[in-house]
Amino acid sequence: MSPPFPFSAIVGQDELKDALLLAAVDPSLGGVLVFGDRGTGKSTAVRALAALLPDIKAREGCAFNCDPARPSDICPTCGDAARKGAKANRPAIVKRRTPVVDLPLGATEDRVCGTLDLEKALTTGEKAFEPGLLARAHRGFLYIDEVNLLEDHLVDLLLDVAASGTNVVEREGLSVRHPARFVLVGSGNPEEGELRPQLLDRFGLSLDVSAPRDIQQRVEVIRRREAYDKNPDGFVADWAARDAKITARIRKSAAMLARMETPTPVFELAATLCLRLGVDGLRGELTLIRAARARAALAGKREPGTADVVAVAPMALRHRLRRDPLDEAGSAARVERAVDEVSFGVAGHA
């Protein structure tokens, strides 16, 4: 199995790469929704991101990706039952890759949220819980390609878990709850259908990608891909240093984020923007500020400025505008228009 295409070797698609990095720095942002044509590198970027995320710590053999400091009760490896046992018997804490889990469109509800362990139930008659994809994605990323084609009942399930951070399973005689906090990354092609507004709203950032228009850039895409196909390991090794730099940056930024102050003008600008655009609810403002902080952290700044808010506004807000079937301009354009007006006003008063 060849290693994934290196993140830093992806040509162009800066907005996409930025958004994914923001989500990696601050998982509470609420995920990224990528809409765009086929063959624009959406899946490649997400799979590449998986390779460069900093490792997480977990106990060996833990199927729930429990944080050793805050284990989940039902986990047979790190939970209550294990804790009561002899200390020496507990598995060691090891580093493992941040999980990036693919949620296939056809996944059954069982597979997603976990179910009774069939094997154990049928062969030994034991009632055990077999964790699903949500448990595997805990503390990592959950990637849904073609998210707009996802079955409605799965959408409902995801909505619930994404909002609460807890997966509650009440079925087949089981009653289980375990933490499932993950960054939701969805991609899709808008021509195939729209996304339900409820799910749309759960995504922190949203962006439209298209294939590069510039012929030289397109040739470069092909050239790198060819080099990668010819010798995947060699190619990945060539880019490893650059990827490692990004990994270090993510780790450092995430640490910085914890102690970051947010100046009042940033709050004010975010509020003004959301008011101007008529964004429903406070989720927009919250995401806007978080994204601005993450951006500042990535840039190595001590606190976010209004420039950070302006830079992330389109991706944080464009999917939260009220749908207006009669407005021909894209919603990104509307956000930018509002940003222009508002930021000019702020600068004028300052």
Partner: protein, 611 residues
């Protein structure tokens, strides 16, 4: 070197076999065999028949011995693809028995996807993911070459784009007649090349040209450009050429976009020396070959001279070539005749009804001991509950017969219980709008408004909308079935109106579309905006009497097909025309002389929920 091809010069396999479409088909099979999983696979458009069988047989003969060949129908379930616990085996043996999914079993070989035009979103999502990662859903290695057999009857029906985009090769076998496949009986051996195709050099200018050519097509996908470059390399490697040349690129263009070889290509292949004259050279980076080529283009020995490969072609020339071939291809999307569709619709209708309850997806509505289809997995809790009362008896029986070590629980296949599920089938509303005469502008405005309002609401119910407008000589499908507001807006802007009324043609197109939709397992609903007075016949001539006659005939056909229809009378003064038509068609009839978008939207919305 075992040279499988009966070509004395050892050159192009294509030219060795001649230059027809069948030769191209075999070349595609060779390229596919050499490229393997790196190409993703091939999209074959063909009906079941001897041509397809011969091609598949040829492809299989080319595979290395022992390579897996798995064949599945597109109606395969997600479980079967990914594999899982084999329940009856597990119970019999008393230990977990897993069966490998189709994807894992196809690892390192071919996966033939039959009836690929019926692939559901679920299956196409899984396949696309596996093509991307080389791993099946449960993590088993699954690197295979997908051979998608697309029997789509017309341009609107086919392999889902999500898969098609990931397959590097296209092969329109439907245009090949059995007579052309004569040499299929000659033994076909495994394609052989001394050169690793990944190491074939593609000159800069050629790379530019290839990317440009891919750009010139409608798709913006980068995967097409990648496919072009890869196939160019393989074609060159098959000719034992270490460097890709323009003619390799031209062959690759045909294979990647599924184009028939044009007369020009045939000419090129046959008389190699003609080539320079029909392809312009660009300014090459290294002057010597360019000068030589410019001085004496026709005198160069094309077979042996290494600098031959350095000859450049103008990206524009290659693009022009592609566009020319593409334009030539545009002519053939054959429309399905109503008569042929009728038969299929009967089968389709039954299926769509059955799907509603025997579904594997959707909400649970109960438990049953008989699975709705073979692929359904038993529900464990319900199965155990069914088995519970028998445990005492069975344990005794088990001990009495001495049937091995005692088991904690005895479950037999008769205990299996299955969940019954129901999911809503999608409804597609076909708006057929009379856009003729003076009311055209208003009518179209209303229809457009209604469509946008409906679509703004459609994501909730996953319904789709299509729009057919009839005016002038014929009806036109302005908006293919979609639930995308983005796409609808794009096709609805600048819709023209005016002219006479080809009502019959509008009805025919609507019925054709309805039949197609039904075949996909969805429920069609026709919303016909008309005053019931057509004056253009199906063949486009102006004859009111014949036109009316045809309309009545089509209305009867519509009634026979049983497509739910709503006729909205838009005549200023309501006359009997539309009402009679609605009665003949078994349709509901509404008079809305001043329909506004909102009213139409509400009305259709009610019907769609009921449909």
């Amino acid at each position: 070197m075992p040279e499988p091809l009966p070509d004395p010069s050892g050159r192009a396999p294509a030219s060795g076999r001649g230059t027809g479409r069948w030769a191209d088909a075999l070349l595609a099979a060779e390229v596919l065999t050499v490229g393997g999983a790196a190409l993703g696979g091939i999209h074959v458009r063909a009906r079941c028949g001897p041509v397809l069988d011969r091609w598949l047989a040829a492809l299989k003969r080319m595979q290395p011995p022992g390579a897996a060949v798995q064949r599945v129908a597109a109606t395969v379930t997600a479980d079967a693809l990914d594999g899982g616990l084999d329940l009856s085996q597990t119970l019999t043996l008393g230990r977990p028995v897993r069966n490998a999914g189709v994807l894992a079993r196809a690892d390192g070989g071919l996966l033939v996807l039959a009836m690929a035009e019926r692939t559901q979103a679920t299956v196409s999502g899984i396949l696309a993911g596996t093509l991307d990662t080389g791993k099946s859903g449960c993590g088993a290695p699954a690197c295979f070459t997908l051979v998608a057999l697309d029997e789509g009857a017309d341009a609107d029906e086919g392999l889902p784009e999500a898969i098609a985009d990931r397959l590097c090769l296209r092969l329109p076998l439907e245009t090949v007649s059995l007579g052309e496949t004569d040499d299929a009986d000659t033994p076909i051996e495994r394609p052989h090349s001394d050169i690793d195709w990944r190491k074939v050099v593609v000159p800069e200018a050629l790379l530019d040209a290839l990317v440009g050519a891919a750009d010139a097509t409608a798709t913006r996908s980068m995967r097409r450009a990648l496919a072009l470059v890869r196939v160019t390399r393989i074609v060159a490697a098959l000719e034992d050429s270490a460097q890709a040349e323009p003619r390799h690129a031209a062959t690759a263009l045909r294979l990647v976009f599924g184009l028939a070889p044009s007369a020009e290509d045939v000419h090129d292949d046959a008389t190699e020396t003609e080539e320079p004259s029909c392809e312009e050279r660009s300014d090459a980076s290294d002057p010597p070959p360019q000068d030589a080529a410019a001085d004496a283009p026709d005198s160069r020995d094309t077979d042996t001279d290494p600098p031959e490969g350095e000859r450049e072609i103008d990206p524009a020339a290659l693009q022009d070539m592609l566009i020319a071939v593409l334009a030539a291809q545009k002519l053939d999307p054959s429309l399905l005749a109503i008569g042929a569709g009728e038969r299929k619709a009967g089968g389709g209708a039954g299926k769509s009804g059955a799907e509603q309850n025997g579904s594997q997806r959707g909400r649970t509505i109960g438990v049953t001991s008989r699975p709705a289809n073979a692929a359904l997995r038993p529900n464990v809790a319900a199965t155990l509950r069914a088995a519970a009362p028998w445990q005492h008896l069975r344990r005794r029986a088990h001990a009495a017969t001495g049937g091995g070590p005692s088991r904690p629980i005895h479950v037999t296949p008769s205990d299996f219980r299955y969940l019954r599920r129901r999911h809503r089938t999608e409804t597609t509303a076909i708006f057929a709008v009379d856009a003729s005469g003076s009311t055209a502008f208003d009518r179209l405005g209303e229809a457009k408004g209604a469509i946008e309002l409906l679509l703004a609401d459609c994501y909730v119910r996953r319904d789709q909308i299509a729009l057919i407008a009839f005016r002038g000589r014929e009806a036109e499908l302005l908006l293919e079935p979609t639930r995308s507001l983005v796409r609808a807006k794009r096709s609805l802007t600048g819709l023209p109106g005016g002219g006479p009324t080809p009502l019959a043609d509008g009805m025919r197109r609507s019925l054709e579309l309805a039949v197609q939709i039904r075949r996909k397992g969805q429920t069609p609903l026709i919303v016909l905006f008309t005053d019931g007075r057509g004056n253009i016949t199906l063949d486009g001539s102006a004859d009111r009497v014949v036109a009316q006659d045809e309309a009545v005939r089509l209305a009867r056909q519509g009634a026979a097909l049983g497509v739910k229809t709503l006729v909205i009378d838009i005549g200023r003064r309501s006359r009997d025309g539309a009402r009679t038509l609605a009665e003949t068609m078994n349709a509901d009839y509404r008079v809305l002389p001043r329909a506004d978008a909102a009213a139409v939207s509400t009305l259709v919305s009610t019907y769609m929920r009921g449909a």
